[in-house]
């Protein structure tokens, strides 16, 4: 707006405005903005504007002027007197536009002669393009029924999008498996594998080691009461292999990699890069989603094994230092306690979790809106959706492939 005013640079009238706007150090205007209403004759309303009408001062309300107009039904004409007017800027324009719109609505004549030179031009500029119709309709007030209805429709649409996305992802996967060239850059795949694999090792190491230490430490106190210290190996082995290893790495990866996927793809959406891919004939599903999905599906089971190793090591440390078990005893007990099938289930489970994390991240990214806030929302939703999917998926695995025989 400032540059607009400056560029308009009307010969004499606006010079005071420009200086008021440009010179930040100019002393604050002495006289505050004010309006006086007068009726020179019964059919005329005179608005005498005085003082400094700038956005930095205090301003009279447009509603007062509107009330004044409505209070005198005999008025047919609105005129202005600006002899006492000091500096002015768009604050005055805003006030006048409010008055003029209202007066026009009541079919009153507006006499602009009294206005400062240049103001008339600004009024024309502001009213030259009528407000667009149809675009603003969404902003109207909505009833409770409408809100619930729209929420239901949104939910249905969201579910539809989810299904469509899963379907497309499956087709993309199918193209890969049937050997038809699913198009993505192999260098991308390696990059994602590195990001989801090696780069995740430090955090996975730290958390699984701590988890192993803590579980063993807490468990040790309980087991000691029964003199069953050696079973700390069973405790750590089974809980890491069957549950904690897979779920914890999946949640770490949801926060780390799933969120990154949503942000990467979302930003590409904002920058029209996805459009560019489409018009290039590259399916975003193949080019962006598939390599990310593959990377996580491949890396998650490896991370699961690695997390198990470190968790069990942590448990072993406690067993040796606190419970006085020899490392040999611990390892032997561990092998006896955890059947191989538990690891197999765990590996499958973490591959599925990898898929879920990648799908959530990519789906939120692909469906992202075109703004910075939308990218933020996409990232948040990706993490929440992935974690919910992981917990639900874990439950389903627990029922279908329980690590212990259930019942009896």
């Amino acid at each position: 707006m400032l540059s607009l005013l400056r560029r308009l640079a009307l010969p004499n009238s606006c010079s005071e405005v420009t200086s008021a706007l440009v010179d930040d150090n100019s002393p604050a205007p002495e006289i505050a903005a004010g309006v006086q209403y007068a009726h020179p004759d019964a059919a005329t309303l005179l608005l005498a504007l005085g003082g400094a009408w700038t956005v930095r001062g205090k301003l009279p309300a447009v509603s007062d002027a509107i009330r004044e107009i409505d209070a005198a039904p005999a008025v047919r004409r609105v005129t202005f007197d600006t002899r006492a007017l000091g500096a002015w800027d768009t604050a005055l324009l805003t006030f006048l536009l409010g008055v003029i719109r209202h007066a026009k609505g009541k079919q009153l004549t507006i006499d602009r002669d009294g206005l400062p030179q240049g103001m008339s031009g600004l009024i024309d500029l502001a009213t030259a393009v009528p407000p667009v119709e149809g675009a603003a309709e969404k902003r109207s007030r909505r009833s409770l029924v409408t809100i619930f209805g729209e929420a239901a429709i949104d939910f249905a649409a969201g579910t539809g999008r989810l299904m469509a996305f899963i379907g497309e992802a499956a087709m993309s996967f199918g193209r890969l498996l049937t050997g038809r060239p699913a198009r993505f850059r192999h260098s991308d795949l390696w990059l994602f594998i590195e990001q989801a694999g090696v780069d995740a090792l430090p955090i996975v190491s730290l958390l699984s080691l701590l988890q192993g230490l803590t579980m063993a430490f807490l468990g040790a106190a309980q087991l000691q009461m029964f003199g069953a210290q050696i079973y700390v190996a069973n405790l750590i082995g089974m809980s890491m292999a069957a549950e904690v290893g897979a779920v914890m790495t999946a949640i770490i990866m949801a926060g780390r990699t799933g969120a990154a996927y949503a942000a990467q793809i979302g930003t590409m959406q904002v920058n029209q890069e996805i459009d560019a891919l489409r018009t290039m004939g590259l399916e975003p599903m193949d080019f962006l989603v598939l390599p990310r999905m593959l990377a996580l599906i491949l890396m998650m089971p490896l991370l699961y094994l690695y997390a198990n190793l470190l968790g069990m090591f942590g448990g072993g440390v406690i067993a040796v230092l606190v419970l006085g078990i020899t490392p040999e005893q611990f390892v032997n007990q561990l092998f006896a306690a955890v059947p191989l099938s538990v690891f197999v289930t765990g590996l499958c489970k973490s591959a599925v979790f990898g898929l879920l994390v990648a799908l959530s991240g990519c789906m939120q990214g692909v469906n992202c809106g075109r703004s910075a806030a939308a990218v933020g929302d996409a990232t948040t939703s990706a993490v929440v959706m992935a974690i919910v999917a992981i917990i639900v998926g874990d439950g389903i695995f627990g029922v279908l492939a329980p690590p212990f025989p259930v019942g009896q």
Partner: protein, 281 residues
């Protein structure tokens, strides 16, 4: 490239209506782009030019009406057929839309890697040629974040031209470019048409380039929400009865007559378009 007869219809738009939900952007558009034409889509800012482009390049489904490429209807074609139609086109987006995670060379080579069997060395050479054509020789290994807005546009153009497409779409190619570069871009566009036989469809506001290079055009009116003039802009400016079209093509605002001093009109007109501040920088 298929060197068919110049002048035959290559894109035909029939009764096209474009809408976002219940908000109709433009309705009942009808025009034909002929092979070898430089076709300009004109209109005030926000009238739906970019949206029209998105309908032509298969990114947005029409609310009603048809888009034909030759005799094939783009939106009635099977997805695979639609892809093969669109493979004959290249698009330069308003913002360039370069892949920000790839260097300029990688950006330009992506279509080549995807659709040709050329060895990497040759692809690299072709990429260098394309970048040189748009004045970016030597910038192969720069990332988009390290070059200016105008350079991004030119790199986007190099990518759009990567496969020497039959039809090139440009969305405001010269917005944000200095006058010399934008004159060079005009020359380049003419050359693409004359030497490579490409058909060019472009959105632009630049009157000099409209009059210098356009063969045909459509004017979208953002109040009436439909096309109010179709034809060669050089003819259009003389023959049109539509006030808005005449104003657009002669740069006369109504503001001029009513209030503002002549010197202020052009800046006021450009100030009313929100993108002009970015363009000026």
């Amino acid at each position: 490239m298929a060197q068919s007869a110049r002048g035959e219809p290559i894109i035909t738009v029939e009764q096209l209506t474009m809408a976002f939900g219940s908000f109709v952007v433009q309705k009942d558009l009808n025009f034909t782009v002929k092979r070898g034409d430089i076709f300009v889509i004109m209109g005030g800012s926000g009238c739906g030019k970019s949206t029209l482009l998105r309908h032509l390049i298969g990114l947005q489904t029409p609310a009603a009406g048809k888009v034909y490429y030759g005799r094939e209807s783009l939106w009635d074609a099977k997805p695979a057929d639609r892809l093969s139609i669109l493979r004959r086109t290249g698009v330069l987006y308003q913002s360039g839309a370069l892949f920000t995670s790839m260097t300029l060379a990688e950006n330009v080579s992506l279509p080549l890697q995807t659709y040709t069997t050329l060895p990497p060395g040759q692809i690299r050479e072709i990429v260098s040629t394309k970048l040189a054509l748009v004045g970016l020789a030597g910038y192969e290994d720069f990332f988009p974040s390290a070059i200016s807005g105008g350079m991004m546009k030119r790199a986007g153009l190099a990518r759009a031209m990567a496969l020497d497409p039959e039809i090139l779409y440009f969305d405001e190619p010269s917005a944000g470019l200095d006058p010399i570069t934008s004159k060079r871009l005009d020359d380049l566009i003419l050359q693409l048409r004359d030497d490579l036989g490409a058909t060019i469809v472009m959105v632009t506001h630049e009157l000099p380039s409209i009059f210098a290079i356009a063969d045909n055009s459509v004017f979208l009116d953002n109040v009436k929400r439909t096309a109010t003039a179709v034809g060669d802009p050089k003819e259009m400016v003389r023959t049109t009865n539509d006030e808005m079209v005449r104003e657009f093509l002669t740069r006369e605002g109504t503001l001029n007559e009513v209030a503002l001093p002549a010197a202020a009109t052009s800046s006021a007109a450009s100030a009313s378009s929100p993108s002009s501040s970015a363009g000026a920088s």
